[in-house]
Symmetry: C2
Subunit: 315 residues, 2 copies
């Protein structure tokens, strides 16, 4: 495919052209100029998808759960977009591939759009690229977008917590709920799902979660705990119901607007920092700077004084 | 103690006044203006301490080892500075306190200066404050400074790897060497120490380390592996010998100059990024900006366009 005009690409994607949508997301993922323009068009379209972040420890069954929830959503006749955050860890490659393959049961359904996103040189990384891509999916017409994280890295948790509804997936067994608490997942959960609930220890895990919720400073909303066996498609209708209940509560209470505002402001900070970092990198490669770096090696100018000089040069 | 002039404080510290040295490091730790000035004086003094970074998993016995190595150094009649990086984790508080108490055997020795450093609002954090404090210890006359990390967090490993010599401490037992490899410690080690070498599994751990070294792309220097039982002060003379051999090799081969140059350049980047981040934060609180943020919430301007506008305002 040849290089395309961003406006043309955006328009085609809005008219349902999937190859154009895929290419537009790739531009966003790679942080290319066309991607920036497409992200701006999407933002100004005022068509926002409802976003659901699904997070939890590796192996909790997030992909299987997502796949089963997609089936529930399709059963209601709604279209759905999915972004799978893939931090491209060389270690988890196999597992990711397996999960993606499992999700391929929806590959031929035109009402489902599944996309993996990795860090590919985007300024600000996935924490900027994913919300931009989610916004694009909304702009082209998807009413809802699921953002599924592979692990519980800092960036992934941050992205999941900025969704309209954040789902935390745990498994039965001693300590899993406690681990989720330690990883800071308790405070970001709007809905808890105990997946693989056909295994022993469900009651203890539920008790642990309830206990920790009792200790939390909850307002007028208490995150529900839903049990699923996603591999057998059990409990997924209830899981989606719980998610939609939070969506309705959040809209009614103004929480959705508040979160979207926070999300956009965080995005702005990240974009600014990335742009500035870029400027610093350029500055450090500048010929005049290289000479000053030599003076620093020689001990005649210290890093802080040099930083002030360089900063004065760009600001 | 009243507020002091940075030059006066620096001069007093150089003349052996320990309360002045302590206060100067506190200024550096808190990122105060006086600290910046003191760091500049130290840099321009051209008196560099030889720095040894000691890292390894929590519980490996790094503090006990450091304490025993201090004894060896003192036995040679040399003075020594120690910076213990303490990321102030609420979880490890007890262990840290215990370790610090153990190191107090040197508390009354005027030839030893031990200082814990935590993140206290320094712009750029410990990765800027620790090298600045180490440089100050060099400037006031310590020929060597040990930088001991509490854990193996990203910042701690980064600081340890930027020392003139980096020591990685492991324990005997299946998998400890493999864990060190996974945590990225193999590639940064100039000297390996198998501490608690009176426990079973020393031979296997040594074999694992040798095997991994065989697979590494080593130049003309192969990191030695030293066995210690630091609690019984066994092997610590050999450990210090191995460290000094690396020091001599690094000086001879030009590695020391190269590492110091890299370290200072990294410091410059971190200082620049911190300064710019600061500018961005101020900018976001500006009255004019607040109005633009409202436009962003209303969807009339997107984050990227706004970022460009704001950046144009400060650069």
């Amino acid at each position: 495919m040849r290089q395309r005009d961003p406006k043309e690409l955006f328009d085609r994607a809005c008219h349902g052209d999937r190859p154009s949508l895929a290419r537009a997301i790739s531009y966003i993922e790679r942080g290319e100029k066309q991607g920036d323009e497409i992200a701006s068009f999407a933002f100004r379209s005022h068509r926002n998808a409802y976003t659901v972040g699904i997070t939890g420890a590796p192996g909790a069954g997030k992909s299987t759960l997502t796949s089963s929830i997609i089936e529930v959503i399709r059963g209601h006749g709604e279209e759905i977009g999915v972004i799978a955050i893939d931090p491209s860890s060389p270690f988890s490659g196999g597992a990711i591939l397996g999960d993606r393959v499992r999700m391929q049961e929806h590959a031929l359904d035109p009402g489902v759009y599944i996309r993996s996103m990795a860090t590919r040189g985007h300024l600000g990384g996935l924490s900027v690229a994913v919300p931009e891509a989610a916004r694009l999916l909304g702009a082209v017409g998807f009413p809802s977008v699921i953002i599924e994280t592979v692990g519980v890295g800092q960036v992934e948790v941050e992205i999941a917590r900025e969704a309209d509804t954040t789902v935390v997936v745990v498994n039965p067994g001693w300590g899993d709920a406690v681990q989720a608490n330690k990883a800071g997942l308790m405070e970001i959960a709007d809905v808890f799902i105990i997946n693989k609930a056909d295994r022993p220890g469900v009651r203890e895990t539920r008790r642990d979660l309830e206990g920790m919720l009792d200790l939390s400073n909850l307002g007028d909303y208490r995150p529900p705990i839903v049990e699923t066996v996603a591999a057998d498609k059990k409990g997924c209708e209830e899981a989606w119901d719980a998610i939609c209940s939070h969506r309705d509560y959040a809209k009614r209470s103004g929480l959705t607007d508040k979160r979207r505002s926070t999300r956009t402001r965080n995005e702005l900070s990240r974009i600014l920092e990335a742009m500035i970092s870029n400027k610093v990198d350029l500055l450090l490669k500048n010929k005049g700077t290289l000479e000053m770096l030599d003076s620093m090696d020689a001990g005649t100018i210290d890093p802080r004084t040099l930083a002030n000089l360089l900063l004065a040069a760009v600001t």
